[in-house]
Structure formats: structure tokens, C-alpha cells
Amino acid sequence: MNNPRSAWRIAWETRFYRWVDTRTPRARSITLNRKNLYTFPNLTGLMFLLVTLIIWMLGTNYQNNLILALAYLMMSIFVVAILHAFANLAGIRVTFIGAKPAFAGEPTCFELELTTTHKQGCDHLELRWPGGDTRVVTLNANEPTRITLYANSSERGYLWPGRLLLQSTFPLGIIRCWSWLNLDAQALIYPAPVACEEPQHQATDGNEEGGNPQSGGDDFSGLRTYQAGDPIKHIAWKQYAQEKGLFTKEYEAYFSAEKWLDWQSLNQPQELRLAGLCFWALHYELRQIPYGLAMPDTQLAPALGDHHLNAVLKVLAEFNLPRAGNQQQ
């Protein structure tokens, strides 16, 4: 925003997209027609016009009617190219099929289905999300074609990849015909896993509350350096008395074979906590250790499998999201 030009540009784009949106409201399936298709000559088109002008001057100077006719023919080809470029895209129906969830920072697959009613089909159609890679596709008449488009995700939550840019300069490359589709497409983005200290389940049922952690001597697994926030009752007082330092006793058997991903047990900022829980969920799933999830507002019983993992990750992704309206900006 410190650059005045970019500020002007952003303001202009916001205004422009608002206008585009009033013409084509967000929908799962959008048909391209005169309402949402725009045509304008590109650089090659302007060069073609320049060549037309040169030929017109040649014809005028030599008073050669046939050369003038050629210049007019080129002018007409330019006009006809507008219609052909429009016809190439008009009638295409774009439907959002679905998107695969991804971890934040990874490219996300969006699956789209394209159909055209134009008899000649559609040639050289370029599609891309803002900032994504371009895909070139060809459509045959009345043959639904499925394509996968990648968009970059940056943070967890629901990703709206932006307006889908469809464009083509077919047949002559002098007229660009394009549309920004406000597709109702979104993908669930999981938090990116970040390694952290293993979450400890704060006992919530009566058995373990107040129980002597040292009762299960077999379960004592070792000592580690004391960190701020460790429960006081786990402090290895014996070692402290021997002046060896402050240690915390670790108890493997403190939990059963089931692990709990406990929101409360991690003492970090929100996003890092979610990232850590994500890391451990994947970790347990990989090791085939059943795990449950305990969030302030939800609780998932320990289990294993893709379905469970997805459910856990979905809860993590959706946790405490900002207002839904913000994602569109």
C-alpha cells in the first residue's frame, strides 16, 4: 500500500471484480455466455492492425484498389476473429466437481468438468487460478471433460482459490476472449504439520485424577530436563535432592495404549498448537497407534484409519476459523 499506484490498482480491481460479480454471481456451475465473456485484441492483434494500416497506406499511395480491398479484408478478418474467438468459448459449462483436502502450503487439486455445446468444440482453452499454473485443454462438442487444476494454499481453513481465469486466443491469436468465473469451489486445508513436544492428555476421568503416577513403577520410562509448565508432581525430587538438577519423570504408562491429542496439553499459540496436533495425528496414524482428539469444543474417541484421520484433521482445520466472509477477499 505504500506505492500509490498499486493502491489505485487494488481499488480499481476491487471495483472491477465487484462489477464482474454482479454480472455472474458465485455458483457451482457456470455457463459462459455474452454476460461473462470479454473480448479485446492482444498485442499480436494490435500488430495485425498496424500491418493492416501499412497495407492500406500502400494501397492508397499506389491508388491500387485491390491492395485497398486486401486491407479491408484484413479489417474484416479482425472483426470476424472477434466473433470466432467468442464462439469458441461461448456455451462452455464449467462445473466444480470437488477438491481434495491438502495441508497448508501444498498445491491443492480442484476437479472441474467442462462441457461445450459448440459444434466445433473448443480449442486451446487456457485455465488457471490466480497465481497457479496454466492448463491448456481442448473440448469436443457435448463430451464432458474433467480436468484437475492446482491452486496454492497458504493457511488452514477453507481455501477459495479465487476467480477462475478461462481464456483463449483461438483461432488467430489476435483477439483474447476471457472470463473470470466466480466458482463456488472450495477446498479444506489442513494445518501444516509442525513437530513439537508430544501432547499429554490432561486426565479428565476420575480414575486418573489424583492417582499416584509413581504407582505403576514399570511404566516409568526415564527422566528429562525440566521445562517450564511440567506438572509439579512429576518432578524428580530425588535427583533434585542429589543436586543433579531439576528433572521431570516421564511416564509411558501414564496413558493407556491410546493416545490423546489434547488441545490443553500444548502450551503454544493457536496455530502452532493446531500444527503440532496435526503432526502427532499423522505420527500416530503412521505408527498405527490409536489416537483421540480433545478440543475445547469437540472430542473424538480414539480410533485409527483414513476416515478417522480425515475427521481429526477436519476438526483441526475448522477450529476457531475467522468469520466466513473474510475468505473471499
Binding site: I54, M57, N61, N65, L70, A71, Y72, L73, F170
Partner: protein, 677 residues
């Protein structure tokens, strides 16, 4: 320019789709060949070799035999071409140099076309090359070739962006579709867009000089008589003069050096005598072929001459002169007075009189002797003219193969050979009169022409070139006298072919050229050429105004706007019809159509099926009166119900639109065989 185009291509394409693939290159090669082909005849040979070399290299590169040219090779090639350009066009800065440079760049660029962007540049140059084809020839054939070139260009251009396989035929078809859609718009633009004059002076193309030159020596016009090329075409605004008046004056030759007649002083403005009484005014439009000379042609005593760029003047000798040599086909309109009368006697001044009777000393003594003899007999000017004409009429004959003449050409012609062509007659006649003290001059131009009834115009060919004499008669002014008419009146009345002997005719044309079919075809072809010239090549501001006011009743802006809007509406309606015709035309199912035929048969006997009655009810009603058709009608009904309402069995599904092809055939046959009631 070459260097810049050369360097542009060195940018490496960013993505895979921007690279040029093999089939696209083939299209570019064909496109180049089509575009360069008509130019080859007008360009130095080495340029076509450069193209062949470039094409070869490119093909070899794709066969992975040769590598891409390195920097050194490119530099060497460019230098070689620059040298070649210098050698061929040194000192010229005209159109041909420009075309040579373009073709050179066009060819060299081919070697290093890598990406779609390079190919695009090639296509854009292609369009300019296409326009230069039309600089050399503007015939209908060339225009057709140019259209084919554009179709080829468009097909190649479209192929650049094609991302799926398509057959050659489909590519050509889709490319031509763009052209076909563009043509109507082009026609409208051509008719409506105002024409401008030249924006700046351009060097003239070198036009071959055809027709006669500014001097006339024996034998000059005889060669022209063998040339059937058109000289000009004339259309008359209202009345057409008689054949005897069709003397198209081109040049006045008034200086005789003993052997040839020359033009003395062509320049000087015409002094218009306000006392003249002009009679028989006639207005006509001439489209003259380029002949590389400044003079134009008109009938006797032109009064007014107009060209779009007003470059024509009328000289003191009543001739039309263009400011520059006629290097391109041009059209002009002239008003001539076939007769002029003077209320007061016109007078030749003394120097003028001297000039028109001057002869070189010592030449042709025999002729001088005869003329002075006549003078001594106290004959009037008029009588001397008649005597001379009578002489020609009596003893001379007309031929295209005259004997060669020596130093005293007039003497030899008049007293020995006595056989010659119009220039011999005109030349010796003028000499004779001058020797007798009568002012005389030779006029060269064309005589007659061939009337084309298809488009009502007169075609004058080079073979109609003619020479005659103008004589100053006291009290009458310059009078046209054609001594050839005295010898061979057929020449004037029916054209040159009628005046010639068998052997001469063979010289002019072969036998099949005189066959009626060939002549008919020739007339038609020339009529087409004339229409082409008049409506396409010479479509100028004036014609435009005329056509628009005829179509719209005026050329005011509001009329043009309304006209364009109407045209646009018609176009839009046509377009909408093309798009919607499938929805507008109600498709009748085949079995229903068959039943409709049956109903037609029955309707003849008064059995009508009101709308809304089912077929079953109709047949029941029919059977109550005509039980004899029970079997036939029941079969028809069953078949119809089966086709219309039963889904086809799985085993019967054919890959056709009709679900029951066999039953449909049976139904159609049954209805065809149904007897008339």
C-alpha cells in the same frame, strides 16, 4: 530490418506449448511457397534460391540432419543477402527494392522460427507480401490467387493455435470459413469507405512502353498491327459516333527530317477561342492501359477532360497530355466537339504557317517537282488535296508487308513501290501537301475499335494504331484527311482485318483465332475484364458517390447511416437464422410423415382425420364404412404403434437415429401399396 527480424527470434520460448511443432512448420512452408510463387517472376533469381535454401535447411533441421544455424552462419547469410540486395537494386529505392527486402527477410526468418511468436511474425510479413503480389498485376486471376493466398495464410495461422489433431481438409475448410465470413464485410467496406488521394509521392513502377513513340518512321506502326493487346476501352455517355468519326488522336507530328516525323513542341496551354461554336458535343469515358507515355487519347477537338486527380491538360494542338507518363491504368472523362465553326475566319500566323510547310532541303526531289507542278497550274488548296487523294485511290494498295524504303522514302513510295501501310500514306500525303505550300501535319493515334455489345463499350487494341493527316484549309481550320481511306476504305469502316490480303491476315492472326467461337469467347472475356476495371480497379470517389446515390438516393451522412444500419439488421437476421434454424424448423418424425402420406391418400376420397383424433379411432371409423381395407389398415396401425411407442429391443439397437429401421421400411411400403379409395 533483416537484422532486427533475425534477432527477434533468439528468445527462448517459455513454455512447451509455445514451441512450434512439426505439422505447424509444414503449414508455414506451404504458406511461404504459395505467397512467393507469383513474385518469383518479378524478382532477381537469387532471391528464390535463398528461399529454397532456407526451406531446405529448415526441413533438414527437422529431420535432425543439420543443426540450427550458429551466429556466424546467420551473420554470413545476412551479409550475403545484403550484398545481393545491393547488387540487384543498387541506386534504386522503389517498390521493387522494398519487395526484395521483404522476401529476403521472409525467407531468412524461416530458418530460425522456433516459437509461436516467431511464426506469428512470419504470418504478418506474409500479409504484406500478399499485398505486393497485387502491385505487379491487378488482373482478376491475380485477385483470385491473392484470395487463395489469404485462405492459405489463415489456415496456417489457425493451425498455429490448434492443440488437437485435425485433417488437412478440415484445417483448410475452417481457415476458409474465416475468409468467407469476412468477405461480405470487406465488400461493404470497399463500397462505403471514402477513398483518399496518394499520401505522398511514390516512385513509379517501370511500365513497359507499349504503343507508338513520339516519332514516326516507316515500319513503326506495321509492328503494332500485330499486337492484339488492348490500348484502351471507351464507354459513351449517351450517343455513339459513327465509325468514320472514331479517330482517336494521340499525338501530332509536325517536324519532318526527311525520313521520320517528330513531335516538335508538345507543350503550351490551349488558347480557347470564345468565338467558336461547338457542335456535336459528345462525352465519353476512357480507361487507358498503361503505355508509359504522357499522352492520352481523345476524339477531335476535346473541350473538357477530367481525371480523379486532375492531371490532364489540353494542348494547343487539341491533344490530351498527362502530367506524368501513364504507368498505371487510369480512367478519364472527355467532352469533345466533333464539329467547330468559326464566325470569323481563323488565321494561321506567319511563323505557324512556315512551320507547317517546312521541309528539309533536297529531300524527295521527285515529289517536290510534282507538287510544284500542281501549284503552277493555279489549283486551289482544296483541289490539290483532291488531286492527291485521287492519286492514292488510283494506283496504291494497302499491305502490312511493304517493301523497305531507301533515303528518299517518299519518292520511292510514291513512284516505285506504291504499296504500304497507313503511316506511308499519311507521311507521303503530308509531304506532298507541304511541298505544295499547304500547311499539313501527321497525327498518330488509333482508329475505330471493336464494339462489345455485352457491356456497351468500345475496345481499342494496339493493332488499331493508325496515322492520318490534318490539313489547314483557309476558312475552315484544321481538317482531318485520311489518305488510307482513299486506298482501303474497308480499313476505316470495318477494321484492319477486312482491309488485308490473305497473306497479311496470316501475319495478324492464325485461323483458329478467327473462328466464331473464339471471337465470342474473346468478347465475353474482354467484357468481364472491362467490368473488373470499371467497377473494381477504377472504383474511385466519383464512382462511389454515383453508386451510393443510386442505391440510397443520396450521399448525405444520414442516408449512409441508415443504409449501414439496415445492412447490419439484415446481417444480424441472417446470423440469427443460421444459429436458430434447427430450433425453428419443427422436426417431423418419420413414422408421422408416413402416416401423413396415408392421410393425403384418404383425403382424396373425403376421409379426413380431424386434428385431435387418434390414429386408432380414425382407422376404426374408416373400417365401419370400408371393411375391405381391414387387413392393410390393421398392419399399418400395428407398425405405427410399434415404432412410435415401443422402445427398441436391446438386440435391435442400431447405430442410427431411427429406432425401428426395419419396421419403418415396412410401414412406408405398406402405405405406398395402399390402394386408392
Amino acid at each position: 530490418m533483416i537484422a532486427r527480424i533475425w534477432q527477434r527470434g533468439s528468445k527462448v520460448p517459455a513454455t512447451r506449448t509455445e514451441y512450434l511443432v512439426r505439422d505447424k512448420l509444414v503449414w508455414l512452408l506451404i504458406m511461404q511457397a504459395v505467397l512467393i510463387l507469383p513474385l518469383i517472376f518479378n524478382l532477381p533469381v537469387w532471391l528464390s534460391l535463398v528461399w529454397a535454401f532456407a526451406a531446405c535447411w529448415r526441413v533438414q533441421m527437422f529431420r535432425a540432419r543439420w543443426g540450427a544455424p550458429g551466429k556466424l552462419t546467420k551473420t554470413l547469410l545476412t551479409c550475403a543477402c545484403a550484398l545481393g540486395m545491393y547488387a540487384s537494386y543498387a541506386g534504386q529505392s522503389g517498390t521493387e527494392t522494398m519487395i526484395g527486402l521483404l522476401v529476403c527477410a521472409f525467407s531468412l526468418k524461416l530458418i530460425e522460427v522456433n516459437s509461436i511468436r516467431d511464426a506469428q511474425l512470419l504470418i504478418l510479413i506474409g500479409f504484406i507480401i500478399c499485398s505486393t503480389q497485387l502491385l505487379f498485376s491487378q488482373s482478376p486471376q491475380m485477385a483470385a490467387y491473392c484470395l487463395i493466398s489469404v485462405a492459405q495464410l489463415l489456415a496456417s495461422w489457425r493451425s498455429l493455435y490448434l492443440t488437437r489433431a485435425q485433417t488437412t481438409g478440415a484445417r483448410l475448410k475452417r481457415g476458409s470459413a474465416i475468409l468467407l465470413h469476412a468477405l461480405p464485410i470487406m465488400l461493404v467496406l470497399f463500397v462505403v469507405i471514402p477513398r483518399l488521394g496518394p499520401l505522398w509521392a511514390t516512385p513509379n513502377q517501370q511500365a513497359a512502353k507499349t504503343g507508338f513513340s513520339d516519332s514516326l518512321a516507316p515500319g513503326d506502326l506495321g509492328n503494332l498491327a500485330l499486337n492484339p493487346a488492348p490500348a484502351f476501352r471507351v464507354s459513351f455517355n449517351d450517343k455513339v459516333p459513327s465509325v468514320c468519326q472514331l479517330y482517336w488522336r494521340g499525338l501530332v507530328l509536325d517536324n519532318f527530317d526527311g525520313r521520320s516525323w517528330r513531335m516538335r513542341d508538345p507543350w503550351g496551354g490551349r488558347t480557347i477561342d470564345s468565338n467558336e461554336i461547338k457542335r456535336d458535343l459528345i462525352t465519353y469515358n476512357i480507361i487507358v492501359e498503361p503505355h508509359g507515355q504522357p499522352w492520352l487519347f481523345s476524339l477531335m477537338t476535346p473541350q473538357q477532360a477530367q481525371t480523379p486527380s486532375s492531371t490532364v491538360r489540353i494542348t494547343t494542338d487539341s491533344l490530351l497530355m498527362n502530367r506524368i507518363p501513364v504507368a498505371q491504368r487510369m480512367s478519364y472523362e472527355v467532352t469533345s466537339a466533333l464539329q467547330i465553326e468559326w464566325p470569323e475566319m481563323p488565321q494561321l500566323s506567319k511563323p505557324q504557317r512556315d512551320n507547317f510547310t517546312r521541309l528539309p532541303k533536297g529531300s524527295n526531289p521527285q515529289t517536290r517537282e510534282m507538287a510544284q507542278n500542281w501549284q503552277r497550274q493555279q489549283l486551289s488548296d482544296q483541289q490539290i488535296v483532291e488531286r492527291a487523294l485521287a492519286l492514292f485511290n488510283r494506283e496504291f494498295s494497302y499491305t502490312l508487308q511493304p517493301p523497305t524504303l531507301g533515303q528518299h522514302s517518299v519518292d520511292e513510295f510514291l513512284f516505285q513501290t506504291k504499296r504500304g501501310f497507313c503511316e506511308h500514306f499519311a507521311s507521303s500525303f503530308s509531304f506532298l501537301l507541304r511541298a505544295a505550300g499547304i500547311p499539313a501535319r501527321v497525327v498518330v493515334g488509333y482508329q475505330g475499335g471493336k464494339w462489345n455489345p455485352l457491356e456497351n463499350y468500345l475496345l481499342v487494341r494496339q493493332s488499331d494504331a493508325h496515322a492520318w493527316t490534318e490539313v489547314w484549309i483557309e476558312g475552315k481550320g484544321w481538317q482531318m484527311i485520311d489518305p488510307t481511306a482513299a486506298v482501303a476504305p474497308n480499313r476505316i469502316e470495318q477494321g484492319i482485318n477486312e482491309a488485308l490480303s490473305e497473306s497479311d491476315l496470316k501475319l495478324v492472326s492464325s485461323a483458329w483465332e478467327n473462328s466464331p467461337l473464339f471471337l465470342q469467347l474473346q468478347i465475353r472475356w474482354d467484357a468481364a475484364t472491362y467490368v473488373w476495371q470499371r467497377w473494381v480497379l477504377n472504383y474511385d470517389t466519383e464512382t462511389q458517390d454515383g453508386l451510393l446515390s443510386r442505391l440510397l438516393g443520396g450521399t448525405e451522412p444520414w442516408r449512409l447511416t441508415l443504409g449501414l444500419i439496415a445492412l447490419g439488421l439484415v446481417g444480424a437476421a441472417l446470423f440469427a437464422w443460421l444459429l436458430l434454424r434447427n430450433q425453428l424448423i419443427h422436426v417431423v418424425r418419420p413414422e408421422v410423415r408416413a402416416i401423413q402420406k396415408l392421410e393425403q391418400k384418404l383425403a382424396q376420397s373425403g376421409h379426413r382425420r380431424p386434428p385431435g383424433e387418434t390414429l386408432g379411432n380414425f382407422i376404426q371409423r374408416l373400417l365401419s364404412t370400408h371393411p375391405e381395407y381391414r387387413q392393410a389398415l390393421e398392419v399399418i396401425h400395428q407398425l405405427f404403434v410399434k415404432i412410435a411407442y415401443e422402445p427398441p429391443l436391446a438386440t435391435q439397437v442400431h447405430h442410427t437415429d431411427k429406432p425401428h429401421p426395419d419396421e419403418l421400411k415396412q410401414l412406408e411400403r405398406a402405405i405406398k401399396n395402399f390402394p386408392k379409395v
